[in-house]
Amino acid sequence: MKPETQAWRDLQAHAAGQLRAGFAGRVVRLAQGPTKKTWRLFLDQGAAQIRPGFAERVLRAARNLPGMPSFLDQFAYSIGTAALCAIVALYLHSRSLELESERNLATWQQIAMHVDDADPGP
């Protein structure tokens, strides 16, 4: 055997020695992706999180939840909220107008008093 052929053989043997046992199987598994069995195990692991009596708990929870509001209910609720906001806004507006008038009146009264005091009369 020629020395270079021998050298190639040695190199190949050295390179092959770097591969761990089961290399071919690993490559095939990687190329194919997870097997059906692995998927099954995975999905079963998720399914195992459901504790016994799950269906009863769901039905009980569904019974105890308040009913879904209908469109009319939601509409009535919106109208009610809007009306309440409008009443509060009108009340606050009228109250602020009232306070403003009282303040103006008090100022005018003061001015009138000053005018009366300053005016010596006929």
């Binding site: 598994r29 990687l30 997870p34 999905l43 692991q45 998720g46 269906a55 769901v58 039905l59």
Partner: protein, 180 residues
């Protein structure tokens, strides 16, 4: 599913739609494990499974009346499950934005080797690298749904499902690296 089973399911759904609690109970028992597996695949979190499954089935009971075609029940149920998971993942994302320090508590990794095989851990890791939409797609395939049914669940076309499925499988294979 053969036609007898389809008819039996449609009949069961009709009874459940009329408010028959026994029928609703039977539907939950029949689908709880499949829905739980699907939720696990989508969220990759075992601690979310029961809570989300409960939300899905409560939504199912409340919305069942509006289901027009009882024969389409399975696709409809998995669409509910998918939407519930996506809502949960969105909420989780928002929480991470507003509560950055909760991050470390939220991302508790699944106990490695809890079920045992290296392949299982590798699959879990690979799924965690995919988008939730792709995880849903792969989980639906494992559920045995046809491309047409998946298209219905995801409200898209069969061609789009095929293309997305191809990409999702590629991504899964890229990240799937069992150690042994």
């Amino acid at each position: 599913m053969d036609s007898t089973a389809t008819n039996a399911l449609a009949e069961l759904v009709r009874r459940a739609q009329k408010g028959d609690e026994a029928a609703q109970h039977e539907l939950i028992v029949s689908y709880q494990h499949r829905v739980a597996g699907f939720i696990y695949a989508m969220t990759n979190r075992s601690d979310y499974v029961e809570d989300l499954a409960q939300q899905v089935f409560i939504k199912m009971i409340r919305a069942l009346e509006g289901l027009q075609a009882p024969a389409q029940f399975e696709s409809w149920l998995f669409r509910l499950a998918r939407n519930t998971c996506i809502d949960q993942l969105r909420r989780q994302k928002l929480r991470r934005i507003f509560l950055p320090f909760a991050n470390e508590h939220e991302n508790i990794p699944e106990a490695s080797g809890a079920v045992g095989t290296e392949e299982l851990d590798a699959l879990r890791h690979a799924l965690a690298q995919l988008r939730p939409q792709d995880r849903a797609l792969l989980a639906l395939v494992q559920e045995g749904r046809s491309h047409a049914e998946i298209a219905e669940v995801l409200s898209t076309s069969v061609a789009a499902v095929k293309a997305r499925l191809h990409r999702a499988r590629e991504h899964l294979r890229e990240h799937y690296q069992p150690q042994s």
